[in-house]
Symmetry: C2
Subunit: 191 residues, 2 copies
């Protein structure tokens, strides 16, 4: 693998060309490794956390949620944006409680994923939660969420048949399948 400096593009000028309520767009003038110039346009994002809530007996807790940008009800793992100054693990404990009505003191970080490197710096932190305990569910005022507990076998089948299509949830479920069905792998990540 070539080192970063063989590929790296240096910023000549960075400009915040749009800021909405949620989205912040930047346009940078950059210099390529061969000294030519180009433009890079991208979103700065605070990052997000997503969790696999494990319910025992090979069951995971998914949710149904309407997503306006794609105009459909998606099947997803619980997730949410990191608030200013928040740690990813605080985010996920909060979102798990708000969206599912469960809490846990056993939440383990599995990995971090860049969602869309072409035009965003969003980093998504994936967690595994077990020993779930009921608490009060309190979704945001403009979120409608319905719980959908299911077996990992059924969830994987729903990926292969095209019923689960949300990227972060697909990645989380592949990890869940490996953790649940591969004893050695489970020992390694849940140590």
């Amino acid at each position: 693998m070539l080192e970063k400096y063989d590929f790296a593009e240096k910023c000549l000028e960075s400009k915040n060309i749009f800021s909405g309520r949620l989205l912040h767009v930047f346009r940078d003038k950059v210099i390529l490794p061969d000294d030519r110039e180009t433009i890079r346009e991208y979103i700065k994002h605070p990052g997000a956390s997503v969790v696999i809530p494990y319910l025992n007996d090979n069951q995971v807790l998914l949710i149904h949620q309407f997503r306006y940008p794609v105009n459909r009800v998606m099947i997803e793992l619980p997730a949410g944006k990191i608030d200013p100054g928040e740690n990813p693990d605080t985010t996920i404990k909060r979102e798990l409680e708000e969206e599912t009505g469960y809490t846990s003191d056993n939440i383990i970080n599995l990995c971090a994923i860049y969602t869309t490197v072409g035009y965003s710096d969003e980093l998504l932190h994936l967690f595994w939660a077990y020993n779930l305990k009921p608490c009060v569910k309190k979704p945001d005022y403009d979120e409608r969420i319905e719980l959908f507990p299911t077996s990992i076998g059924n969830a994987m089948e729903m990926i292969y048949s095209g019923e689960i299509t949300d990227a972060k949830s697909v990645i989380g479920l592949f990890w869940a399948d490996k953790i649940i069905n591969d004893r050695q792998f489970r020992k390694r990540v849940l140590k």
Copy 2:
């Protein structure tokens, strides 16, 4: 699962509040199922295609590419944005040739994935390509790409150890692992 109309948010007014060279941001006033109003801000994206180039003997062809928004060299599957009027399968044949210098007449669609339902309508089409044949490599003038052929076993290990962190590539490699190592599944999807 509740039907879409139990959750659906209706658009009252849609406004293109920003258009850059690459990114198009919309802000819609919407009405929630309980008749309250809220605002949804999101990106309209033309969609993209991504491919798992299979090299025989359990090897897949990954690439190294510098990604400005995250300021690092990423390990990825070849991918690219759909051009206006283009089919996803035309996109992926073109991107495979441009980025890797291989072409194929055996490209199979596996699934479609929404990359970031919270703020984008981007739909990503995943393909499996085999019987690869060398052709002329011609990356875009501002793309620097290095080929990284590796075994599926090593690629999966790089996901688990946090070296492969690009969402579309992680999803593609989980599918590749299943296709390569599960004979029955392979029969089902490559029929």
